[in-house]
Amino acid sequence: MQNKKCDTLEAALERLTDDAIILVGGFGIAGVPEILIEGVCDRGLRGLTIVANNSGTHETGIARLLAEGCVGKIICSFPWAVESFVFKEMYEAGKVDLEVVPQGTLAERLRTAGAGLGGFLTPTAVGTELGAGKPVHEIDGKEYVLERPLRGDFALIKAREVDGRGNLTYRMAARNFNPVMAMAADYTIVEAATEVPVGALDPETIVTPGVFVDCYYVAGPYTPGKEGGPYS
C-alpha cells in the first residue's frame, strides 16, 4: 500500500513552492488546518495565492502568512471581518491582491475543478459587480453567469480521522470547505486529529475517500474545549 503518512510537518509540506495556489479549508475557527498553516509560514515562501472563505483573522494562521509577506493574492468570500485587520492593512498598502467570490460560487468552483468540469452556470451574482465581465446565458427566461473552475496546486485540509489510505471523516461544522477543497487540488495535504487503522472507518461514513488525499500528518488527538487546539 502507498504510504501517505508523513511523520513530520516538514515532510508533509516539502512540495510547496513559491507562487503556488493553496486552498485552505475552514470556516471561522472550525476545520482550519492551523498546524499546516503554521508550517507553511515557517517555510518562508513568497507569492502564494490563498483560497479560503476569509482573509485571515487575528494574528495567526492565514493572517500570519500575510504578515510575513508570503501571500500575493487572496481569493475569498468574506475579506472584511473586523478580525481581518492584518489583511486590511496589507491590502491598503498595496501588498496583496484580492478576488471576492460569493461563498456558494466559491464552493462550486472548487467542486467543478475537482469534478473535471470546465465551468457552470449560476444565477448567483447576475447583474452585480461580482458577475461583471462574465458571460451571461439566458435559459428559459432566467439569467445565469458562467463561472470557471478554481483549482489549487495544493490543498490544506483539516480532518478528524484519517486511515492509511487517506480516507477522512470530519467533525460537525468543521467539515465546511474541506471535502470540496480536497477534491480540487493537484496535491492534497491533510492535518488529522486522529489516525485509525485501515478498515476501522465504516465505509458508509467516509466523507472524503483517500483517492483525493496525497499525504497526511497526524496533529494529535481531539481536545474538546481547548482554545486554539486541534478540535476537529
Binding site: F27, M172, E227, Y231
Partner: protein, 221 residues
C-alpha cells in the same frame, strides 16, 4: 413622537412570518435574533451556510460551547435532534436549489422591483459578500430585515438602488422598525405599521409610494 421598534421587536415580528415545517436561513447580524422568537409548536429548520441543517440555539451552559459548532455568524450554536452536517458545496446546493422556504437578510436598500443591496457600500472598493448573493438568488422568499431609514435619515426602501446590487428581484417582504411592507408586482404595499405610527409617517420615511390597504394592521409589539 412614537418609538421605533427595537431589533428584538422586529425579530419577533419576522418570526411570526416563518411557517411550520419551513427551512430558513438567517443572515448574520439582526436576522439571527429571529431564532429567539419562534412561536411555540412551530417546527422551523434552520440552515447555516457552513453546512448545518437543523441549527439550534446557543448552548445553555458555557461549557457546552463547541468550537466546531458555530453559526455562519461565528456564534456558538447547537444541533437539533435530526439535524445533519453537509459540506459547503452541498450546503449551497440546498440554498441555490430552491429548498430554502425563506431567507431573512439584512439590507442597505430594497428597490420596488425587489432588487436587494446588502453586501457593499457604494464608496467601498470591495465588500464581504459571504453567502448573501447565493442565498438571495436561491431562496423561495427573501425577507429584508432592517431599520426603515439609514442613520442619516435616508430612506432604505427606494424606487431603484443606489447601492451595489446583491441579487435582482428577490425581496418579497420587508420588515423594519416602522412597518411591514410587501413587494408586489404592483409596487410596495404597506401591510402593517409599528404602534403609534400612521401610514403617513411611514410614507414620509420611505423613498417610493406605498399602497395602503383599507385593513392596515398594527404590528403586535
Amino acid at each position: 413622537m412614537s418609538e421605533r421598534l427595537s431589533r428584538d421587536q422586529i425579530a419577533a415580528r419576522v418570526a411570526l412570518e416563518l411557517e411550520d415545517g419551513w427551512l430558513v436561513n438567517l443572515g448574520i447580524g439582526m436576522p439571527t435574533l429571529t431564532v429567539n422568537y419562534i412561536p411555540e409548536g412551530r417546527d422551523i429548520l434552520f440552515h447555516s451556510e457552513n453546512g448545518i441543517i437543523g441549527m439550534g440555539p446557543k448552548p445553555a451552559r458555557e461549557e457546552d460551547i463547541d468550537p466546531d459548532l458555530m453559526s455562519a455568524g461565528k456564534g456558538p450554536v447547537t444541533l437539533i435532534p435530526g439535524g445533519a452536517f453537509i459540506h459547503h458545496a452541498d450546503s449551497f446546493a440546498v440554498a441555490r436549489g430552491g429548498r430554502l422556504d425563506a431567507a431573512v437578510l439584512g439590507a442597505f436598500q430594497v428597490a420596488v422591483n425587489g432588487d436587494l443591496a446588502n453586501w457593499k457600500l457604494p464608496t467601498a472598493k470591495s465588500g464581504s459578500v459571504g453567502g448573501a448573493m447565493d442565498i438571495a438568488a436561491g431562496a423561495k422568499r427573501v425577507f429584508a430585515m432592517m431599520t426603515h431609514t439609514a442613520k442619516d435619515g435616508e430612506p432604505k426602501i427606494v424606487e431603484t438602488l443606489s447601492y451595489p446590487l446583491t441579487a435582482k428581484t428577490c425581496v418579497t417582504k420587508i420588515f423594519t422598525d416602522m412597518a411591514v411592507v410587501a413587494v408586489t408586482p404592483e409596487g410596495y404595499v404597506l401591510e402593517e405599521v409599528a404602534p403609534g405610527f400612521s401610514a403617513e409617517d411611514v410614507q414620509a420615511a420611505t423613498g417610493a409610494p406605498l399602497a395602503v390597504p383599507d385593513d392596515l394592521k398594527t404590528i403586535a409589539a
